[in-house]
Structure formats: structure tokens, C-alpha cells
């Protein structure tokens, strides 16, 4: 019976397990499919889902015998990773029922991520759920749970600012550029020097619509090499000053110990640039752009420390938003709990309907000869009439039972209903719970 079913999640994440251990378990789609297949084999597990990303490995499942199911899942994990159970055990968290539900909601909303608010996790969970439905390990409860999780993630994203501000240096630079230029389409970027972070920033700018990129370097060959990676135009270092006239955004990242761009150079270019704004992103240490450049009209200079400051501020803001998101999650967990409680009344409602259906069938069969003369239209009208009478008769008891869901007296009422309608005796009682009718009964419980 459904009230005995437990929702469980067992897994490890970036906080509980070291990367070496997670690596053993993190795998491709095939591994997830293998995990789902072994979960399907387990008698104790009714429904299952397997999530594996670089920061977490988790099995989410519904079991009627929680203890044996837990043991089986743990040994499944250790088999999958080729790790001893003793080794894996201390790194695992095991959550039950509403704690598990809350955890799933938190994960989907990216509240449990290493970088809170990062958007990838939702896609990964959706993929894991798709696999579970393909492998048919997902059932009534998991379907509902996962759809609610997606809903919660959507709510968190739209009602809080958790994914708002950039939490990486390069994204912070892109955001700043947008606050200056509004749109980056048609803007020109000059990349002076090379380096991982500078190139990352350039790449982000390009994906956000920047139209052209020019690469300058002390050694022209290096400029050609870097430019090749971006489909950009390489120029020699001497041309940099003239390039300053065309550029809108300049990213500097050279190993030079002196300023590569001086205030004087920029000041001279301003009039020729017709005062178009110029945004310097100085990623180099020691700095490449003279700090006083920032004081010039329509010129903005951010060095690496400024950008780090921006990132830290945004991180703090995300943590604040996470508190708001936590409230949304709590709210949704409560709603889900309520739905889960109504699940207990489903079998009784289903057998009530089945019984009514079988009575209709039987009575129709008995009166067949008398009804032969009816036209198809009359026949249809008659059937509609009978069905609506039955519907209306059953409606009040069903509504009443749903209203009792979650109360301590529920079982008394369920028992009474079964006795009143004779649901448990004889073949006509029809407590044969077909998958289809069960689903239907649950659907009728309506949205939570």
C-alpha cells in the first residue's frame, strides 16, 4: 500500500566526497542506464532515478522495504564504481521522505550546487529523468516528484535573483560591458597579450554578440596563433595605438612590467574616437593600463582586483537570494507532502469507480434484449444518463475521502467506505488495481 512507500535518496556531492571518489562513479549515459537497469532488478525498489554529474552522484528511489532497498542501492553504487562499501559509506548521505523531497528540490533549483545558482544542473536532472522514463524505472511518484522539482526550479529562477549576477571574472566583464554599451552587437574588441582568462573573457564577449576581435602581441607569431583560435585579426604590437581608435573594449593581459597603455595615449585617442566610450579590462598582474585612465571622460577601467570585487559582491548577493529560494522550496515540499497523503485514498477511489463500472456493464448486459430497439443516438443518450447518475452518486463520497487525506482518522473512513460499498468482497468488488486505472485515480487528484 502506498502509505508504506518511502522516498529515498542516497548519494554523494562535492561536499561529502572527494573528487577521486566521485570520479569513479561519474560516468556517461551508458553508466546511468546500467545503474537504472540494476535498480529495476531490485525487488525492494519500486521506482528509481540515477543522477550523475561531475559534482554529484545520486540514486533517488521509491521503496516499500526501505532498509533492504538502502543496502541494495549502496552495494549497487560500490559495484558501479568498483569501490569497497566501507570506503564509500562515510561519503554518502541517505535522506528519507520529505528530507529527500526537499533535497531533490534543492538540487534542481541549484541551491545545493558548488556555485549556487549555476544553471547546468537543471538540464542534467532533466536528462536523468528522461533516461529514467525511457528505461521505465520512473512511476507515479517519481513522475510527480520530478515535475514538481522542475516547477520549483522555475519558480526559484523567476522569483529570486539567484542566477542573476555573474560569479566569474569573465562573465562579470561581460556584464559590465553591457551596462556601458547596452548591446554588444557591432562592438569591437582589442585583445592585447594572451592568457587563459583574457581569452575566456574575449570568448564570452564574442558569444554575446561582439562583432570583431583584433589580437595584438609583442611577438606577431603569437598574435597570429591566438587570432587563429578566434577567427580574429592579428596585428603587431606597434599597431596597437591605432587600433585603440577603433576598439570599444580592450582586454589587456601581457607580462609587461610597465604600463602598456598610458593615460596620454588614451587621452589623445579620445577626440579622434569622437568620445565613444572605451572599456578597459586589465587582467594582467602587474597591471597593463595606467590606473588614471579611469578618470578620463567616457573611459572605464577595471583591473583584476576590481573584477574580483564584483564577483565577491555577486556571490554574497546569491547567498542572500538562496535564503529566499529556501522558503520557496519549503513551501513546495509542504504541497508535495499533501499530495503524497492523498495518494493513500487513491486505491479506494479506484475500486469504487471500478465497482460502479462493473455494475453498469452487468446491468446493461441483462437488459440488452429490451434495449435492442433503440437507435444509436438513443442508446448513447441512455448511457450518458446512467453514467452521470453514477458519477453524481459517487462524487460526494470521493470528495469527502479526499478531504480526509492526511488526517489520522483516514483509515477508519477508508475502511468504512470499503465496507459500505462492499469493495473487498467478491469479484465484483474489483480491487484489481490495474496500472491504468491507478494512474487515472491519481490524475483526478488534480494539481497540487
Amino acid at each position: 500500500m502506498s502509505e508504506m512507500l518511502k522516498i529515498l535518496t542516497i548519494g554523494m556531492n562535492h561536499e561529502t566526497a572527494p573528487i577521486e571518489l566521485r570520479e569513479c562513479l561519474a560516468g556517461e549515459t551508458e553508466q546511468t542506464i546500467r545503474a537504472l537497469a540494476s535498480m529495476r532488478q531490485l525487488d525492494a525498489v519500486r521506482e528509481g532515478l540515477f543522477l550523475s554529474t561531475c559534482n554529484r552522484v545520486e540514486a533517488l528511489f521509491i521503496a516499500d522495504e526501505p532498509d533492504s532497498a538502502k543496502a541494495s542501492i549502496i552495494s549497487l553504487l560500490s559495484n558501479l564504481g568498483g569501490i569497497e562499501t566501507e570506503e564509500i559509506l562515510p561519503c554518502l548521505y541517505v535522506l528519507e521522505d520529505m528530507k529527500a523531497v526537499k533535497h531533490v528540490f534543492n538540487v534542481a533549483s541549484s541551491l545545493d550546487s558548488m556555485v549556487v545558482g549555476e544553471p547546468q544542473i537543471l538540464g542534467q536532472i532533466k536528462a536523468a529523468y528522461t533516461l529514467a522514463t525511457q528505461e521505465k524505472t520512473s512511476g507515479v511518484i517519481l513522475n510527480r516528484l520530478m515535475h514538481r522539482a522542475f516547477h520549483v526550479a522555475k519558480r526559484v529562477r523567476s522569483e529570486t535573483d539567484i542566477c542573476g549576477a555573474a560569479v566569474s571574472i569573465s562573465y562579470a566583464a561581460v556584464e559590465l560591458a553591457k551596462k556601458i554599451f547596452h548591446i554588444l552587437e557591432g562592438k569591437k574588441v582589442l585583445l592585447v597579450g594572451a592568457g587563459e582568462m583574457a581569452e575566456l573573457a574575449a570568448r564570452h564577449l564574442l558569444t554575446h554578440g561582439v562583432s570583431s576581435l583584433v589580437v595584438a602581441n609583442r611577438t606577431f607569431e603569437r598574435a597570429v596563433e591566438v587570432a587563429g583560435r578566434f577567427n580574429a585579426e592579428p596585428v603587431s604590437f606597434e599597431e596597437m595605438e591605432s587600433q585603440l581608435l577603433n576598439a570599444d573594449i580592450v582586454i589587456t593581459s601581457t607580462a609587461s612590467t610597465e604600463y602598456v597603455v598610458t593615460r596620454e595615449q588614451v587621452r589623445k585617442s579620445l577626440r579622434k574616437r569622437r568620445n565613444r566610450p572605451l572599456f578597459f579590462i586589465d587582467i594582467a598582474v602587474p597591471r597593463d593600463v595606467e590606473p588614471r585612465v579611469n578618470a578620463l571622460n567616457n573611459v572605464y577601467l577595471y583591473d583584476i582586483d576590481d573584477l574580483k570585487g564584483v564577483v565577491e559582491l555577486n556571490m554574497a548577493q546569491r547567498r542572500e537570494e538562496a535564503v529566499k529560494a529556501g522558503r520557496i522550496v519549503e513551501e513546495e515540499v509542504a504541497k508535495f507532502e499533501k499530495w503524497l497523503e492523498t495518494l493513500a485514498v487513491v486505491p479506494t477511489i479506484v475500486s469504487l469507480r471500478n465497482k460502479a463500472e462493473s455494475i453498469i456493464h452487468a446491468e446493461f448486459a441483462k437488459s440488452r434484449s429490451a434495449l435492442d430497439g433503440l437507435t444509436p443516438a438513443q442508446n448513447e443518450a441512455l448511457e450518458t444518463l446512467i453514467r452521470s447518475i453514477v458519477e453524481k452518486m459517487l462524487n460526494d463520497p470521493i470528495v469527502y475521502l479526499k478531504g480526509r487525506a492526511g488526517r489520522s482518522t483516514l483509515n477508519t473512513y477508508l475502511d468504512l467506505t470499503r465496507k459500505l460499498f462492499g469493495l473487498d468482497d467478491g469479484a465484483s468488488g474489483g480491487y484489481e488495481e490495474t496500472g491504468h486505472s491507478r494512474e487515472r485515480g491519481i490524475e483526478e487528484l488534480g494539481p497540487i
Binding site: 556601458i180 547596452h182 569622437r274 565613444r276 566610450p277 571622460n297 572605464y300 570585487g309
Partner: protein
């Protein structure tokens, strides 16, 4: 004579200003939509009020400072609603609505002047003159607000204080464009208003130009805006300098509108109109 339409417009403008203030702090979209529609309804009532006044007086209701301020508030909101449709800039309302509410409050605090209108003022030319001048003033007021927002936002970015003000204000480029378009469209209206004004003066007083203080100050304003527009178009001024100059220009404009009329006399002064 207290018009219920005026009170409604005043009340709704105040409500919208409050709503827009809540919006800029809390950033809820529904607050914006609510405030926006309150402002729209207030504008409709205000339009009805002005229509009634026009019908009663037989000329544009701008003959005393009270009416002129209310007319100005109406024009600012009207221009804002047009700009909002084009730029869809939610934060702009948080600056416009308080300005409109402020103008309305000052207007409401002033006494009504009653009595017959001089036949001199019952002229089609006066309506055209005042209508174009106020359309120009309203556009320049929006440019002024955008300039203030620009300077605030520029300061945030330059000083690397990227907090709540930074995130609430739009990009520098957007603010600069609003300032630019406000002046680009406001200036011709101002010009047209001055031309129709002198035509009206010729028609009513027999002279195009007679060195009335308001005429002189209007000319100064016109020259200042002409200089600003020139710097923008020919020299390529933008951003901070253009913003500062447009704030200065608007300050002089406001002085011309209120100060000159009240302090310097001349046939433009509300006093001379009140003694009709």
C-alpha cells in the same frame, strides 16, 4: 473652483509616484504594471480636466502659474508614455512619476484665479504657441531626468560601486540615447514654440519681438540647447559632458519658465495675465 478631475489626476499621480518608488526598491514587475496603469488613468483624467478648462476658458489653460504647472506635468507624463512605448525602460517611470507628482502638488497648493479671460488670449495662436513650447519642455525634462540617471550610473561604474543602484539603473548607452533623443526632438518643438509665439505677438501686439524678459531668457535657453546639440552632432560629445550641459540647460529653462515669469515682470508674467 475645485475640479474633481484635477483632484483625481493629482491623487493618481501621487499614487503612481509612490508605486514607482516601491518598484525601484522592490523590483517587482507587477508593481511596475500597476503604477504604470495608475499613471495612465491619471493622465486620462488630467486630459479630461484640461479639456474642460479649455472649453470653459476658450483658450489653453496656462494663464496662471497653477495652470501652467499642471499643464507641464500633463505634458511630461504624456511624453513619458510615448517614450515608454519606444524604450520600454521600466526604471524611467520612477523618475518621471515623482516629477509629475511634484509639479501637480505645487500646482494644487496655488490658489485658483477666476474672472473673465482677456479676449487677447482667446487665440488659436496662443494654443499652438503654448502646446509646442510645453511639448518641447516635456521632452527636455525627460532628457534632464535621463542625464541625472546617467551621472548617477556613471559614478557607480567609475567608482566600482556595483550595488543596488547600479543594478537598478539601465546601461549608460541607453541613458545617453534617451538624453540625445529628448533634446533632438525637444529642440525643434522649442524652436517652433518660439516662432509661433512671435507670430502670435505680431498678431496680438503688433510686434514680433520686444525684448520682454521671458523672450530674452527663452532665447538664452534656445542658444544653450543649440550649442549642446551642436556639440553632440558635430563634435561628437556624449556621455558625461553632454549630460551635465543638458542639466544646466534645463535649469535655465526652469528658471525661464517659473522664475522669470514671477520675478521679472513683462507681458509674459502670470501676474499681468491674472489681472485680466
Amino acid at each position: 473652483m475645485i475640479s474633481p478631475w484635477f483632484s483625481l489626476a493629482l491623487g493618481l499621480d501621487l499614487l503612481a509616484a509612490g508605486g514607482f518608488t516601491v518598484f525601484i526598491i522592490g523590483q517587482q514587475k507587477w508593481v511596475f504594471r500597476l503604477s504604470y496603469w495608475i499613471l495612465v488613468v491619471g493622465f486620462v483624467f488630467h486630459t479630461i480636466f484640461l479639456g474642460c478648462r479649455y472649453y470653459d476658458l476658450g483658450t489653453a489653460p496656462v494663464l496662471d502659474l497653477k495652470s501652467a504647472l499642471s499643464f507641464f506635468a500633463w505634458a511630461v507624463v504624456g511624453v513619458y508614455l510615448i517614450i515608454q512605448a519606444r524604450f520600454k525602460l521600466m526604471v524611467l517611470g520612477s523618475f518621471v512619476a515623482p516629477l509629475a507628482a511634484f509639479l501637480m502638488m505645487v500646482s494644487s497648493a496655488m490658489p485658483w484665479t477666476t474672472g473673465p479671460v482677456k479676449p487677447l488670449f482667446k487665440s488659436f495662436w496662443l494654443t499652438i504657441h503654448v502646446g509646442t513650447i510645453f511639448a518641447g519642455d516635456a521632452l527636455l525634462a525627460i532628457a534632464f531626468l535621463a542625464a541625472i540617471m546617467y551621472l548617477i550610473q556613471e559614478r557607480q561604474i567609475k567608482q566600482k560601486r556595483l550595488g543596488s543602484i547600479y543594478s537598478r539603473l539601465p546601461s549608460l548607452a541607453t541613458l545617453d540615447r534617451i538624453n540625445y533623443y529628448g533634446i533632438l526632438y525637444g529642440f525643434p518643438f522649442l524652436t517652433l514654440g518660439m516662432i509661433t509665439g512671435s507670430v502670435y505677438a505680431q498678431y496680438a501686439l503688433g510686434r514680433y519681438w520686444q525684448w520682454d524678459p521671458k523672450e530674452v531668457w527663452s532665447l538664452i535657453v534656445w542658444l544653450l540647447y543649440a550649442a549642446l546639440l551642436h556639440q553632440r552632432l558635430a563634435v561628437g560629445w556624449q556621455g558625461r559632458r553632454a549630460a551635465i550641459l543638458s542639466i544646466v540647460c534645463f535649469g535655465v529653462l526652469m528658471f525661464t519658465f517659473v522664475g522669470v515669469s514671477m520675478m521679472m515682470g513683462g507681458y509674459h508674467s502670470f501676474g499681468s495675465m491674472g489681472a485680466r
